[in-house]
């Protein structure tokens, strides 16, 4: 029997922008679903395919690396196909273009829906409504279609209309206030997009569960995921402490929520911080035995002999002093060296890896986490992160490198939707079918 990927045969229409939805369809695509990105040559979605369709080299150089680090610092032939912010989220997806602002374009979307199992979207509230793309409209093309919507705050309630990216959701949901240094105010906080990760993973799960449900009942359904509500799971301990005890949590820096001590991030031997060559080791001591082992490694019999420090409570009351002792020990060592020594003594620790170092770590190498690939456009061969699900009988691989806009126009129009040659030519002549954004878009 030929083995198929776990979600093979499930077709997902991807109407997503930016992070959360795009991550949801990435996971579904990795697991074998056929994900079809619906893109519009006349509408550049903010950020998703880049802030500009045709940025200049000068603009890229003036833009933070996250959005400006295009291959070789050049915009290249079609910048939108390798926007550094999102290119890694476009593997294992197909892409086709249609101008959904027109009646015939929307009908094409509908005809695709008729051949699909699920639709996922995370646009700002009412973006799709304004186009007439509602759940009822989808059902007019396929009665048992599944739709997952990921409005920031949900489809109802006073905040329903609020615009938000992950950073705003994290702020509203308490995350921004609670993460960060204990001794600095929250203006030192850095955006991280953890809410997008969580909401994306859960939206993928919702699609899987809804397909499971449909396979049993024949019934499709609308799923509403409020990214704000969803993000609460990451602060569950703080919420529980409030609802159980009325206590509102404060910032902990790198210390353990559960009071295990010592825990922190300590300096190691490194280079120029301005070049991101500073080096750090994270260490968590969660048992008395680990503490004794740490004292031995640090050659600090005085600390080992200190009766107060033999218990977690004692260590928790003297964390500043302990952290200073650890830092003076780590400061003169290489991070990987201290990592392996600590782990050999059973102490949880790891280097805090700077982004350029992820490729050469023995773990990522052993698991093949980064692999060289070429894209549709000739921009050179680069290493892209690979799917993280390891399934030996149904290997989860990159079947499709990060997709170019419109790369699958022929396949989707002809083979999936089944348009006639005449109709295809007509749609082409009206600008629906393209691998380029309209020249009017800067």
């Amino acid at each position: 029997m030929t083995q198929h990927l776990p979600l093979e045969g499930i077709r997902v229409v991807d109407l997503c922008v930016v992070w959360a939805g795009t991550f949801a369809t990435l996971l579904l695509g990795d697991l074998g679903a056929e994900v079809i990105k619906v893109e519009n040559p006349f509408v550049l979605p903010p950020m998703t395919r880049g802030n500009r369709a045709r940025p200049t080299k000068e603009l890229l150089a003036a833009t933070p690396a996250s959005a400006g680090a295009y291959p070789g610092g050049e915009p290249g032939p079609r910048a939108w196909n390798y926007n550094p912010t999102f290119v890694s989220l476009y593997r294992n997806k197909k892409s086709f273009t249609v101008d959904w602002r027109t009646d015939e374009g929307r009908d094409i979307v509908g005809r695709l829906v008729a051949k699909s199992d699920a639709v996922v979207e995370n646009n700002a509230t009412e973006t799709l409504e304004k186009l007439g793309i509602t759940y009822d409209w989808l059902r007019s093309y396929r009665d048992n279609i599944i739709m997952v919507r990921m409005a920031a705050y949900g489809a109802s309630g006073p905040y329903a209309q609020a615009r938000a990216l992950g950073v705003h959701l994290e702020s509203v949901m308490g995350h921004t206030l609670l993460r960060g240094y204990r001794d600095l105010d929250p203006t030192s906080s850095t955006p991280i997009f953890s809410g997008d990760y969580l909401a994306g993973a859960q939206a993928a799960l919702a699609v899987q569960m809804a397909v499971w449900h449909r396979d049993r009942t024949g019934q499709g359904q609308l799923v509403e995921l409020s990214q704000a509500e969803n993000a609460s799971a990451m602060l569950s301990q703080a919420f529980m402490d409030y609802t159980l005890n009325g206590r509102s949590a404060g910032r902990l820096g790198n210390r353990s929520y559960y009071g295990f001590a010592p825990q922190g991030v300590f300096p190691c031997r490194g280079g120029d911080p301005a070049e991101c060559e500073d080096r750090w080791i994270s260490i968590s001591v969660i048992s008395d035995e680990q503490w004794r082992n740490l004292c031995e490694l640090m050659a600090r019999p005085d600390l080992a002999a200190d009766a107060e420090l033999a218990t977690n409570a004692g260590r928790a009351s003297r964390q500043d002093e302990i952290e200073a002792a650890i830092a003076s020990w780590t400061r003169v060592q290489d991070d990987y060296s201290v990592f392996h020594r600590l782990q050999a003594a059973g102490i949880p620790s790891a280097p805090v890896l700077e982004g350029s170092r992820v490729f050469d770590d023995p773990h990522t190498q052993a698991r093949g986490l980064y692999q060289p690939q070429t894209l549709y456009d000739d921009i050179g061969t680069f290493r892209y992160v690979q799917p993280f699900y390891q399934m030996p009988e149904t290997p989860i691989t990159t079947r499709q490198a990060p997709v170019a806009m419109g790369e699958h126009n022929d396949y989707v129009y002809r083979d999936v939707i089944g348009v006639s040659e005449a109709e295809y030519d007509d749609l082409k002549s009206r600008g629906h079918v393209s691998m380029d954004f309209d020249p009017s878009i800067p």
Binding site: R163, H168, T176, G180, H213, Q221, V223, M240, W280, Y389
Partner: protein, 401 residues
């Protein structure tokens, strides 16, 4: 009814990531049997405890991550433990575990044991670094796993050490990603009759996650540009968190439209010079002084709720930094019925954050509070087809409790 009613999950996970994965399945209808060692999941010993007194049935962490599950106490170190496991495997559609790699094998109930008894079901193993890695036996915590696999290096300020997220946020992310592996395994079993040993590595799910990690690595690969922490006093426009009259608000420049921003400020003449409309103006440090000169006085004149209301009206990206107590009271989430009421026989009644998402045809609900340690041992043994007299023997021998 739940969307995955009738699905049977044998859950050998402890801690945060694994239990969160299986809780998501339990939330939507799966029958999740939590197998606990005689002393229970170690999170029963972690707080926050109701009333601040440690008690295995009053841990906020355990109560949250194990809602909607049943509990059986089974001592896998006992010789007869494998026999009970064999019966539970017969019952199960999928097995999930989070022991250190190799531990399940040492108990004699590893992948070969499971596969030999029921070839069509999968074992999903959740571990720090995976079943095959030079670091497979290495220890990890939220801090160390996120520091290694996630984009922590660029979190915080340049003058200081990198700083983590709050609580166990990264482990929760990874748990949700792992839940997808479990569902995918169920499809594989149901549609193709295939079982396999799925190797889910928490750090891999961070390297490949949707936060800024993949961006930081591709920026290096594409253009040799590294992502670090900005200086504390770094200037820039709309660079993140700003103070206001009663707290803080988030304004991050990416995606912000200046026309809407002026409308929000109520001063269309501010920032009206054409150079503000030049590409990238919003990232120019030189522009910050003029921008902030207009912005800060306005911020201090308004509360975070006022600012957010104005931002919503003008469709500007913004978020107030709410505190936990403000969130629990907030009328938006109250109106939407987000909070779930729980009645627990020992911990009492309390509210907890509710549904992760709303499935219109198959609603979310709290079917049962987190289980007491071994609360369902007898009924689970019966469900697994073990006769009452055999159950008595297992209890007497201390194999189950």
């Amino acid at each position: 009814m739940g969307p995955i009613d009738g699905v049977r999950v044998l859950d050998l996970t402890v801690g945060i990531a694994g239990p969160y994965a299986t809780r998501l399945l339990a939330d939507y209808g799966a029958d999740v049997i939590k197998v606990e060692r005689p002393s229970g999941d170690f999170t029963r010993g972690l707080g926050p405890f109701r009333g601040d007194t440690p008690h295995p049935e009053k841990s906020g962490t355990f109560l949250y991550f194990n809602t909607n599950k049943r509990s059986i106490v089974l001592d896998l170190r006992a010789t007869a433990g494998a026999g009970v496991m064999a019966a539970l495997i017969e019952w199960a559609d999928v097995v999930v575990e989070s022991f250190k790699p190799g531990v399940l094998e040492r108990f004699g109930v590893g992948w070969d044991f499971i596969h030999g008894r029921k070839p069509a079901i999968s074992l999903v193993s959740i571990s720090n670094f995976g079943q095959e890695s030079p670091y497979r036996d290495y220890e990890g915590t939220e801090l160390t796993l996120y520091g290694f696999g996630g984009e922590m290096f660029s979190m915080g300020v340049a003058e200081r050490e990198p700083v983590m997220m709050f609580g166990t946020a990264a482990l929760v992310e990874s748990g949700a990603a792992a839940a997808n592996a479990v569902m995918a395994s169920l499809f594989l079993t149901h549609r193709q009759g295939i079982g396999q040993h799925v190797d889910f590595s928490i750090v891999d799910s961070q390297f490949g996650g949707a936060d800024r990690r993949h961006v930081a690595s591709i920026a290096v690969e594409f253009a040799g540009r590294r992502t670090g922490r900005n200086p504390l006093d770094s200037s820039g426009v709309l660079r993140g968190v700003y103070p206001c009259a009663d707290g803080y608000v988030e304004f991050t420049g990416a995606g912000t439209r200046l026309d809407r921003f002026r409308e929000m400020l109520g001063h269309p003449e501010w920032l009206s010079d054409p150079r503000w409309d030049a590409p990238g103006a919003i990232f120019q440090a030189d522009n910050a002084a003029e921008f902030d000169g207009n912005f800060y006085p306005w911020l201090y004149q308004h509360t975070k709720k006022e600012i957010w209301a104005k931002a919503r009206d003008a469709r500007v990206l913004c978020g107030p930094l709410f505190t936990i107590d403000e969130l629990v009271a907030d009328h938006h989430f109250r109106e939407r019925g987000f909070w779930a009421a729980v009645e627990h026989p020992v911990a009492g009644s309390f509210e907890m954050p509710g549904r992760p998402f709303i499935m219109n045809a198959s609603p979310w609900e709290v079917h049962r509070p987190a289980p007491l340690l071994g609360q369902h041992t007898r009924e689970i043994l019966s469900d697994a087809g073990i006769a009452t007299d055999e159950q008595d023997r297992l209890f007497a021998a201390g194999v189950v409790a």
